[in-house]
C-alpha cells in the first residue's frame, strides 16, 4: 500500500495475532513431537508431525512476510527432511539443536513486529543455522540451503519474472476498506502490470446489486523483480478477504533465464511437497512395502488421535464466559428461591415444576462451569522439556512421571499456577535430587524420579510435586532459621513445622547458589502466589527418601454442594465434602458454654472443637438445641458448634469484595433463595485456627506466622 490507513494496520495486526497464536500452537506440537522422538527416535509419524509443524510455521510466516522466521525455519526443515528420508540419523546432538531451534523460532516469532530485527537474535539464528547445516555436513548442502534459505535476497538479484496473478475479492472486501483497485495500483509501483483482465462475471445487474458488496476480481500478467512471496505480500492485508493464485508464467518471456526456471521448479516442488503432505494425512502412501503395515497401524491410530485435536477447541473471550457463568449462578439462586416459594405455597404441581427447573438449571450450571475448566495436563506437559534440559545441565538422570493430567481446574488458575510449579520442579531437580554417584552410594536407583500428581479432593484441587531425592535436612534448616532470625534458638518445633520453614521469606538451604533454581528467594514467592489463589502449600519430607510439596487449590468459581448452618441469625455454608457427621453438642462442651474452645470426645478420640458463635462474636440463639458438626480437613477432625442445621444446600460461591479479602476463614459469600446472605466457610483455615487455638498455651498465633496473621483477624 502506498498509504496505509489505520484500519489496514489494525486488520494486519489482528491477522498477525492469529498467525502468532497458531504459530505458538505449532511450536508446542513441534516440541511435543521432538520430545516424543527423544524417547522413540524411530517413530516416523512423530517425525512427520514435527516436520509438518515446522513446515506450517514456515509457510504462514512467509505469508506474513516474516523472512527471518522463514529463513531460519527452512534450515530446521532441511534437517528434519534429511532425517525423514533416512539420510541422517537423529542423535543427541541433533535433538539438542532442534530443541534450541524451537526456542530460536519462538524468539524470532516474538520479534516479528520489529522492522529490523534484534541483531543478537539474528546472530543466534545464523549460528544455529550454521550448526544445523554442519550436522548434515558437506559444503554442497550448505550452498544449497544458503540459497534457498534466503529466497527474497536470491530472487531480487535475478531478472524480472512474469507471473499470472489471479485475485477474486470476497463479498466484504469493499466494506472492509480493501479496494481491488488500490492493490492493482500498488502492484504497478512494484512491477509492471503487462495485461489486466477484470473478473466481473460475478457482478449482478442493477436490480440484484448490493452496491457495497464486492464482486470484482482481476487477473493480471505481472512483471516484477520480486518472487512469489513478495507478490503475496502485496495482498497480505486482504488474506481473509480474497482468493489469490500466483503462478509463474514460465513459458513466457523472462522465465527462460536459468534462475527463473530453477525457481519455477522449486515452487512446483514445494507444491508437490504440500500435496504429498496432504496425501499422507489422508491416505496411506508408503514406498517401502516392508514397513507398510506397521506404518498403517501407526497412522490410523495417529489420525484417529489427530482428528479430534483439530475440532476440539473454539476460542471464546474469557469475559463472555464469565458473564455466562455469572448468569447461570443467578439462575441457580433464583431456582432455589422458586422452590422455596413452592414449598411455602404447598402446591405440589408448582413444587414439581420448580424441581424440574432446578434439575435443568443444575445441568446448565455444570455445563457452564465445565467451559472454564481445562485439564492441567497441558501445564504439566511443558515440564518434560524442563526436566530434560535441566537434568542434562546438571548431569543428573531424571524421569518425570505425570499422573492425573486430566484433572481439571479453572483456566485462570492454570495460568497462574504454571510459574510456581516450574519453580518447584526446578527446585526438586537442583536441590532435591542427588547426583548419580550420590544416589548409587545411597543405594538408590540411578535414575531420579520427579512426579507431578493432580487430583480432586474435598472440592479442592490437589497438586503434588514429589521427588525421591535426599529430602530436607532439618538440622540445617533449623540452624539456618536461627541464623536468619526466623525462629528463636530455644523454640521447639514439630518436624512438619520445620519443613514449612523453608517457605519463609529469604530462606535458602543451598550453600551454593546455582542458576537453576535462582537465589533462594523462590519458595516464599511460590508460597505467596499459591496463597494469592487462596490456596495452601505444604511440604512433607523424609530424610534420604524425598520431598513432597502439596498444593491445595480451591475451585474458586465452583458452585459447591454445601451444608447450610446458622449461628445467631447468620447463615454459614460448610462445603459438603468436609462435613463428616453431625452430632448433638457433647456434654463436655455444653458444660462450659463460655469457653468457646476446648476438646471433646468422639467415640474415644479426643478432638478440638470451637463455638462458631464465639469465634464470630455473635450471641448464640437461646432457644433450641445446638449441634456440633464434625468437619474434616485432610486427616484432622474438628468440631464446630452451630445453632441450627438446615441441611444440604447447593450454592454459588461469590468472591468477597476486596474489602473482606483478609478474612481468611471465609472463602466467599452466597445468596440464599430467600434473599439472605450466607458466608461460605473456609474450613482448612478454620481447622488451622482451631488446632492452634486449642493447643495448650497456644495463643492462636503460630510461632513464625506461617498461616499469616489472618487467623487472629478472624477471631477479632
Amino acid at each position: 500500500m502506498s498509504q496505509i490507513d489505520p484500519s489496514d494496520e489494525e486488520i494486519l495486526a489482528a491477522a498477525r495475532e492469529g498467525f502468532l497464536d497458531e504459530a505458538r500452537d505449532m511450536l508446542r506440537q513441534f516440541e511435543d513431537s521432538l520430545l516424543a522422538l527423544d524417547d522413540d527416535p524411530g517413530d516416523s509419524e512423530t517425525l512427520n508431525c514435527a516436520f509438518r509443524a515446522a513446515h506450517t510455521i514456515k509457510g504462514t510466516a512467509g505469508l506474513f512476510g516474516c523472512d527471518r522466521v522463514v529463513a531460519f525455519t527452512h534450515d530446521v526443515e532441511t534437517l528434519l527432511e534429511a532425517v525423514r528420508s533416512g539420510q541422517y540419523q537423529l542423535n543427541d546432538e541433533a535433538m539438542g539443536l532442534l530443541l534450541s531451534s524451537r526456542d530460536q523460532m519462538e524468539a524470532l516469532l516474538g520479534d516479528v513486529n520489529s522492522a529490523q530485527g534484534d541483531p543478537e537474535l539474528a546472530a543466534a539464528s545464523k549460528d544455529l543455522a550454521a550448526q544445523l547445516r554442519a550436522l548434515l555436513g558437506g559444503a554442497g548442502h550448505e550452498a544449497e540451503t544458503a540459497s534457498a534459505g534466503a529466497p527474497v535476497a536470491a530472487s531480487q538479484a535475478s531478472t524480472d519474472g512474469v507471473w499470472r496473478v489471479w485475485v477474486q475479492f470476497g463479498n466484504d472486501a469493499l466494506r472492509n476498506g480493501l479496494d481491488p483497485l488500490s492493490f492493482l495500483r500498488y502492484m504497478g509501483t512494484q512491477g509492471k502490470v503487462r495485461k489486466i483482465k477484470v473478473l466481473d462475471e460475478h457482478v449482478p445487474d442493477l436490480e440484484a446489486l448490493n452496491a457495497e458488496d464486492c464482486h470484482l476480481g482481476f487477473e493480471a500478467e505481472y512483471e516484477t523483480t520480486g518472487d512469489r512471496a513478495s507478490i503475496a505480500s502485496v495482498f497480505e492485508f486482504a488474506v481473509g478477504d480474497c482468493e489469490l493464485h500466483i503462478d509463474p508464467l514460465s513459458g513466457l518471456q523472462g522465465a527462460d533465464t536459468p534462475s527463473e526456471l530453477g525457481k519455477a521448479v522449486q515452487v512446483a516442488a514445494a507444491e508437490l511437497i504440500a500435496v504429498d503432505d496432504a496425501l499422507e494425512e489422508d491416505l496411506i502412501v508408503d514406498a517401502q512395502p516392508g514397513d507398510r503395515r506397521a506404518a498403517q497401524g501407526d497412522r490410523r491410530k495417529a489420525s484417529k488421535d489427530r482428528v479430534p485435536d483439530e475440532t476440539r477447541f473454539v476460542r471464546v473471550r474469557a469475559d463472555k464466559l464469565d458473564r455466562l457463568i455469572d448468569l447461570v449462578g443467578e439462575l441457580v439462586i433464583a431456582s432455589s428461591g422458586a422452590q422455596l416459594v413452592a414449598q411455602q405455597e404447598g402446591s405440589s404441581t408448582f413444587a414439581e415444576a420448580a424441581l424440574r427447573i432446578r434439575t435443568l438449571v443444575e445441568s446448565a450450571r455444570d455445563g457452564a462451569l465445565a467451559l472454564r475448566m481445562v485439564p492441567i495436563g497441558e501445564t504439566f506437559a511443558r515440564f518434560h522439556r524442563v526436566v530434560r534440559d535441566v537434568s542434562k545441565t546438571l548431569g543428573k538422570q531424571v524421569d518425570l512421571q505425570i499422573t492425573g493430567a486430566d484433572t481439571e481446574l479453572d483456566k485462570s488458575m492454570v495460568e497462574v499456577i504454571a510459574d510456581p510449579l516450574m519453580h518447584l520442579v526446578r527446585n526438586s531437580l537442583d536441590h532435591g535430587l542427588e547426583t548419580t554417584e550420590e544416589r548409587l552410594a545411597a543405594g538408590k536407583p540411578e535414575r531420579g524420579v520427579i512426579a507431578l500428581h493432580a487430583y480432586h479432593e474435598g472440592g479442592q484441587v490437589m497438586i503434588e510435586v514429589t521427588d525421591d531425592g535426599r529430602g530436607l535436612n532439618r538440622d540445617r534448616i533449623v540452624k539456618k532459621a536461627i541464623e536468619r532470625g526466623l525462629i528463636r534458638s530455644d523454640q521447639v518445633l514439630s518436624e512438619h513445622e520445620i519443613d514449612q520453614l523453608i517457605t519463609a521469606p529469604g530462606f535458602s538451604t543451598a550453600d551454593q547458589v546455582t542458576d537453576i533454581s535462582g537465589r533462594g528467594v523462590g519458595m516464599d514467592v511460590v508460597k505467596r502466589s499459591i496463597e494469592s489463589l487462596r490456596g495452601q502449600m505444604q511440604l512433607a519430607s523424609e530424610w534420604g527418601r524425598g520431598t513432597t510439596t502439596q498444593i491445595r487449590l480451591p475451585l474458586t468459581l465452583a458452585i459447591i454442594d454445601g451444608f447450610l448452618t446458622s449461628v445467631g441469625g447468620t447463615y454459614y455454608v460448610l462445603p459438603m465434602e468436609i462435613v463428616s457427621e453431625c452430632i448433638e453438642v457433647p456434654p463436655e462442651c455444653a458444660a462450659n458454654p463460655g469457653a468457646g474452645v476446648g476438646y471433646f470426645n468422639l467415640r474415644g478420640e479426643v478432638l478440638p472443637y470451637f463455638d462458631v458463635a464465639l469465634l464470630q462474636k455473635v450471641t448464640p440463639s437461646a432457644n433450641g438445641r445446638r449441634s456440633l458438626v464434625v468437619a474434616r480437613d485432610g486427616n484432622t477432625l474438628i468440631g464446630l458448634i452451630v445453632d441450627k442445621l438446615h441441611g444440604e444446600y447447593q450454592t454459588v460461591i461469590k468472591p468477597l469484595s476486596s474489602l473482606f479479602r483478609h478474612l481468611r476463614a471465609i472463602a466467599g459469600s452466597t445468596i440464599l433463595g430467600s434473599g439472605d446472605v450466607a458466608l461460605v466457610v473456609d474450613v482448612p483455615a478454620l481447622v488451622t485456627y482451631a488446632v492452634e487455638a486449642t493447643r495448650p498455651g497456644g495463643t492462636g498465633r503460630t510461632p513464625f506466622n506461617l498461616t499469616s496473621t489472618s487467623t487472629t483477624e478472624t477471631s477479632s
Binding site: L174, D179, L181, L206, A211, E212, F218
Partner: protein, 97 residues
Amino acid sequence: MSTSTACLAGEWTIHAIAQHREAMLLLVNDGQYEFDASGITDMDSAGLQLLMAAQRSIAKQGNELRLVDASSVVRDVLISYGLDATLLPVNLEEAVS
C-alpha cells in the same frame, strides 16, 4: 426510450454508492443508456462495479451502455482495469476487431 445523455456526478465511492445505485436503477429502468461521467469527482471499485451492473441491466434491454465523456478519475479507474468507454476490455476488443 430516452436518447438523451444522463449526467453522472458526485463521489462514486463505497461511501455513497448505495444512493447512486438507487439513482442508476431509476435511470436505467427509464431506458437510459448513454451517460456523461465527467461530473464524477471520485471513483473506486464500488463505482466501477455499479457501472458494470448498470451495463448488465442495459444489455438486458437490448442496449449498450456508453460513456460519452468521463472525468479523469473515471478514466484512471477504467485504464487501471484495462477497460474502455463501453466497459469492455481494451485488449479483448483489439483481438476481436
